[in-house]
Amino acid sequence: MKKLIALVLCCALCVSLVPAMAEGNVVRIAFGYDPNTLDYAMSNLDTANFITAHIAETLLTQDASGAYAPGVAESFEKSEDARVWTFKIKEGLTYQDGETPITAEDLFYAAKRLLNPDDPKDNASFSLVNSEEYYNGEAAFEDVGVKKIDEYTIEYTFINPTYESTFVTASLFAPLEQAYVEEGGEIYGSSSFLPLANGPYMVEEWLDDASVTLVRNPAYRDPETAKVDAIEITLNASADVTVDMMLAGELDIATMQNPLQLQTLVDAGFVKSEESFSSTYQGLNLRAGGRNEETGRFLSNANFRKAINTALDREALAASVMTGYTPTWRLSSPGEPAYNANPDYRAWDTTANVDLANQYLNAALEELGAAKEDIPVIQLMCYESQGAIDALAAIQDQLRVNLGLETEIAPCTIQVMISNAMSGNYDLWWGGNEVSVPDACESYLDGFRSNSGTPLRGYADAEFDALFEAAVSSATLDERLANYAKLEEYFCENAMCIILGWDAHYVVTVEGASGYYLMNGGRLNVSGMTK
């Protein structure tokens, strides 16, 4: 009897040790974080963005070619100045239950909920007319630029001209069923109360901090879109765990940055995408006002900033302490619409130009009536990770050797770093800024305006303000990109920020995989993937 029990236990153990194989056309992917929430108004992590891209269909969608195609909307009209957009919603669409219809009311509610000042949402934005006034209690919601014309027509009025790329943003342009959201209350969007999907997939299971499984949404309008039966997402996987999972055959696709890890996978027979995509502009954020008057006196001088910008050897940094980054020669990274519209522009050399840097420094000292000894110690603030400290140590060295400039590294916790940044308490700060579409105006350059309403950058530059205003007021995308080119040139040539590297990511897949594509912001879409 004992032998029989032992045999059964051994068999059970053997069975349990056989790795689970994915059945059907299942795509397995890993992300570094739990999504935290799938409430479109709150979620902004990569993991959540990936899931949202598959479960939430917005007014317009983006296809594999990058073009914008009708999603929830059947058609749209826009005013001549591209500020008023009217969308006709497809009739007969439902959420995943196959019963609850999608109407203009659901988009109206999504906007109202996002802008509710009594229940603040992370992704609240103020692009609609009077939205900020409503948020601050200075206007009624009726005055906000969103109107339900009829059951299937909705109209948005924006402060600035707007383009198709805006309408793929789930926080404002994905429908929400009010009764369902209110039923969820505080827990809506968490693993205990998942959102009602209207995209090609829906969440079957979300085990907090472990995994998310997406399956086909049977009620989706175009079943052909979802070629993959299921998408299995592993959560909280660091880059080295992702590599091990790929090598062990537990993942089918991943995005990677580290060249050594990429090479390991390529050597093992995985396929790396030819084109990279950038997710951030990495470098030294610079506060023109400095952290105090003493440093602000120098940092507000364009020649002083240009001296720093020119003294840094970006190629050396990328080869040593910024592995995985592409050395920059301007703000927009290759592949961005703004880059493609002005592809020949090069603002600086990727290596250090010591003579030119010292010329800039001397010009700055002359303008300021100061001697080199008067330059105060410039603070280099960073997150207290070894990688960040190493990068700043190399930068510190280059500035000392090439320019004779003394700096001090100030590592701090992430929350302290952001608090200091938001309150303008820094000189130079090691950090990244997200790449966005069609350009960096709203997501990044907005903070450099004199009336940005935040002490983050500390600039007061009327010429920059005028160029910014011209860019965001452009009625067409072509006009916008042309105006943006002027803005970018001004920004780079005055070294308003020290952009050092584009955060270059590649997609790595198992051999024979195809059909995946990247949407705005580097969001991967695998619904059409085959392997």
Binding site: D122, A124, S190
Partner: protein
């Protein structure tokens, strides 16, 4: 006895109160703002501070928190939208506890076995070999051992899943990594304890009575060596059940360990408080149970409690 128990319970409650108070004010001293973000509009951050009551004076926040705590409400996570602190603990603790207890069970078992063998082969090669293993267990940090095991058993040999949770095979590697330090500690403790017992007169008597070697070892030496080992296990159990940030992160285990670090990094105040109070209460409860058990076992202890410690 009732008075003794009551006394201990009151001390336990006071300890938790002091812990909660100290944590609350220390937490508020951590620089930074939980809602500071470059992605969120400044006006929104302002509203979020109001929403969570962070615009109120610290004293008001403290009394409000304590009032909620008395009602068993630990609040909502500021970073994990839609999840209450109680939910996070309720879901994470069983995972960490299961991994911890499994790891502890096997590591104590192996540690005791190694300790017994070391003592029996004192100053001979098996003793040196097993002590070397024990020293390696302490010297090799889990952040080194974990990836090595993942690579050899998961990637190269494909015997075990690289990471994950939910099935027995996924628990093997993290349990080993988590328990190796315990194996080392138990080996050394058991060896020392055994060596002490082996020289006692009653062991000589047992041999003189004609008991064979195995009987002497199992019935007398091991049994009497276990007392100090068991005493030291209490805090160890509490610690290991709360999870390990490193091991849980390395093997993607959805336990409580990572929250102890993440909550502080993110300044998620309700989660910091909730986890500290939960861990504190768990430790205090364990100690309380030990104290009460001692009281039952040893009349002198409960009598000393009755006479005010004299």
């Amino acid at each position: 006895m009732g008075r003794y128990v009551l006394n201990k319970v009151l001390i336990a409650i006071a300890t938790i109160f002091v812990l909660a108070t100290a944590t609350f004010f220390l937490m508020k001293l951590i620089p930074g703002d939980p809602f500071a973000s470059l992605k969120t509009k400044a006006a929104v951050q302002e509203k979020q501070r109001e929403y969570y009551g962070l615009d109120q004076p610290v004293a008001v926040q403290f009394f409000r928190y304590m009032g909620n705590l008395l009602r068993g409400d630990l609040g909502w996570s500021m970073k994990k939208a839609g999840r209450s602190v109680v939910d996070i603990i309720r879901e994470g603790f069983p995972v960490s506890a299961r991994l911890g207890l499994t790891s502890l069970f096997f590591s104590v078992l192996i540690g005791l076995l190694f300790g017994i063998l070391c003592a029996q082969f004192r100053n001979r090669w098996p003793d040196y070999l097993l002590l070397l293993v024990a020293v390696l267990g302490i010297a090799l940090p889990s952040m080194v051992l974990g990836p090595l095991m993942r690579y050899f058993f998961g990637v190269r040999l494909k015997w075990l899943p690289v990471v994950g949770w939910g099935t027995a095979d996924k628990m093997i590697m993290p349990a080993i990594v988590l328990g190796l330090g315990t194996v080392a500690g138990e080996t050394r403790a058991m060896r020392a304890s055994m060596l002490g017992v082996m020289t006692q007169d009653y062991i000589t008597t047992a041999r003189a009575k004609g008991l064979n070697g195995a009987q002497v070892v199992l019935r007398h030496e091991v049994k009497n060596s276990l007392v100090p080992i068991v005493t030291g296990l209490g805090p160890g159990i509490a610690g290991i059940m709360m999870g390990s940030f490193v091991v849980e992160s390395m093997f993607l285990i959805p336990g409580l360990g990572r929250y102890f670090v993440d909550s502080i990094t993110n300044l998620d105040y309700p989660l910091i408080m909730g986890l500290t109070i939960f861990y504190g209460a768990f430790l205090v409860t364990m100690n309380l149970l030990v104290d009460v058990a001692y009281g039952f076992l040893d009349p002198r202890i409960r009598e000393s409690g009755k006479k005010g410690g004299k």
